[in-house]
Symmetry: C2
């Protein structure tokens, strides 16, 4: 759980709640003019002026969303922030502030929380986010992180899920399936470790996909790219549950259908190699794996020249009338109805 | 846990995460023009125009902050919202939106969550708050509620903790100690019930203090009263941890001292009677009990005529120079140094 097993252990009772918050947040700096008052009062005060405020929240729970036996706490802190920022970027907004609440059992020493906050601080610094508040309390079991992210956007730039039209192109950033295959590798190593605690895993060949799982990056570059290219997506969502589930959200909320082309789905060679090794179909992984935190969006066909050839973006399909349904067109030209098999934390079968 | 033990039990797996959110939030209405987009996208969109945004967050955990053996779920939902709104009112702001994230173990059927949300809905309706987002997930144990509250305020109306000056009057709304004594009554009844499950508790004589514990009300009337009376407090905080702890916060952040007069602390007769019955000193209860969600503030002495005789407000002391320290002046005219003994969720001794 702690990277350095020999370090000091300071119990949380020694500090108390206020001492703990002060200690963990003292090195955070304020980056945004919109943050008038951050941590230290009953509430934070923000000033978005003529921009709209964008608000999203996510909960990460030990044993459900992460496993501390292979997720270092610093990575967890970083990832928890990414998961939330991704939702802000999916509105084509700029993320500006976060609140972070954590509940921890007494089995966590102060040094463990310091590592968690080091990851949060790294994310805040890299993505220029102000930590403006939070709550820190004990839990009867395990670790829980609840983050609310705030952002700002000019009204006309905001992209909702419900604006896709028939014939719009379906586009995705980056590549898919890496986070899921990284998890498979980590879970296999955990099983090996249980049998032989002296085994030294060689994760080098899997470094890309393991990093996609442990240290994902939210695509703050994509809203900036849209601005630079003069592209205004008609709908957008981030890929947290899996491509299939997200396409179904866009189609349902926009009242359109979709044809997704299997041969257009962007896959990193490491993902393909890992899929072969684990004997899993790479298309299924991209469709249902989730946690890639890429952005999925639709654009009018007239905008295609602006994005053509951009290495960050792949056109993977097009929208249709709602009556045509939502389908995957396979490499063998078969039409398969898309169903959501993404992450469902209430589904005890996975 | 459920008020009607004979009702249906629907497992959460049947609905899945998205079905659950849709089901629980479908009856919530939007009250504020500032809520441009609520639940249903990656993030909510708000428009505070020329007002400042006020943001606060709190985490409530089963076994730490509440005990479901005497806290009905509907009350818990209501109280969870109150705890958060209280922080917004403590900035002299108007609360406008909340996000609600919950983690529940599979031992909770859908009907239990419906009760929890009925309490949240009641609070939202009564206090005119828009539910704009959240996250719903499973937990390995118990129930957890994370709420972020948003509000709005005109810049010059906002009251921080750090504006108190020597000679300012210290004022509190309502009365203190009720929530703590209500908890004592409920815990006693729980013990009686363990010994004899057929016992019928008579809580009638304790209805005021039990209600203070189970169904507290955040003081949204106080910012309105300030506006009506033309009063601008110099500092303000809400009483969640206990009068003593909150006074120390105001003094520390304002760099002042304080004399608090024991005989001025407002106590309801029910609280005094319960303290006598439980053989607890009522002043200690008011100082350290917490969870009263009253507002504690300071005003310039010149403002005194505006609040004089107001039944909602009690002047309980005055601020001094920092070097004079923070003291309780007892009924016997003894000066005792105030220490924080309020709620500390990391303190395993209570």
């Amino acid at each position: 759980m702690l990277e350095n097993k020999s370090q000091e252990r300071t119990s949380l009772e020694q500090l108390g709640e206020f001492g703990l918050i002060d200690h963990l947040t003292k090195d955070f700096t304020i980056n945004h003019k919109s943050t008038l008052k951050g941590i230290g009062d009953d509430a934070a005060i923000l000033d978005f002026k003529d921009k709209k405020a964008v608000v999203s929240t996510d909960l990460l729970i030990e044993g459900v969303h992460f496993d501390l036996s292979y997720m270092p706490l610093k990575h967890l802190g970083y990832k928890a922030v990414m998961v939330n920022l991704s939702d802000i970027y999916a509105m084509n907004a700029i993320a500006t502030q976060i609140t972070v609440s954590i509940a921890v059992s007494n089995r966590f020493p102060l040094e463990a929380l310091e590592e968690l906050y080091a990851g949060i601080a790294l994310a805040a610094e890299k993505y220029k986010i102000d930590l403006i508040g939070g709550d820190t309390t004990s839990s009867t079991t395990g670790l829980l992180i609840s983050i609310t992210a705030l952002g700002e956007a000019i009204d006309t730039n905001i992209v909702y899920r419900n604006g896709a039209k028939p014939n719009d192109l379906l586009v995705v950033s980056g590549d898919l399936g890496g986070a899921y295959m990284g998890l498979q590798v980590l879970e296999r190593e955990k099983e090996v470790f249980k049998v032989n605690p002296n085994s030294q895993p060689d994760l080098e060949p899997y470094s890309y996909i393991v990093e996609r799982q442990l240290k994902p990056e939210a695509r703050n570059d994509i809203p900036k790219l849209f601005e630079k290219l003069g592209v205004q997506p008609t709908s957008m969502i981030d890929i947290s549950d899996g491509l299939s589930s997200e396409i179904l959200h866009l189609c349902k909320q926009s009242a359109v259908g979709c044809n997704l082309f299997e041969d257009k789905i962007p896959l990193d060679p490491t993902v393909i190699a890992a899929c072969e090794e684990f004997k899993i179909d790479s298309t299924m992984v991209a469709l249902n794996g989730g946690e890639d935190y890429e952005l999925l969006f639709t654009i009018d066909q007239d905008e295609f020249p602006k994005i053509k050839g951009n290495p960050n973006l792949s056109v993977i399909g097009h929208m249709t009338g709602a009556s045509e349904g939502v389908h995957l067109i396979t490499r063998g030209d078969t039409k398969i109805k898309l169903t959501a098999q993404g992450w469902n934390s209430f589904d005890t079968k996975r």
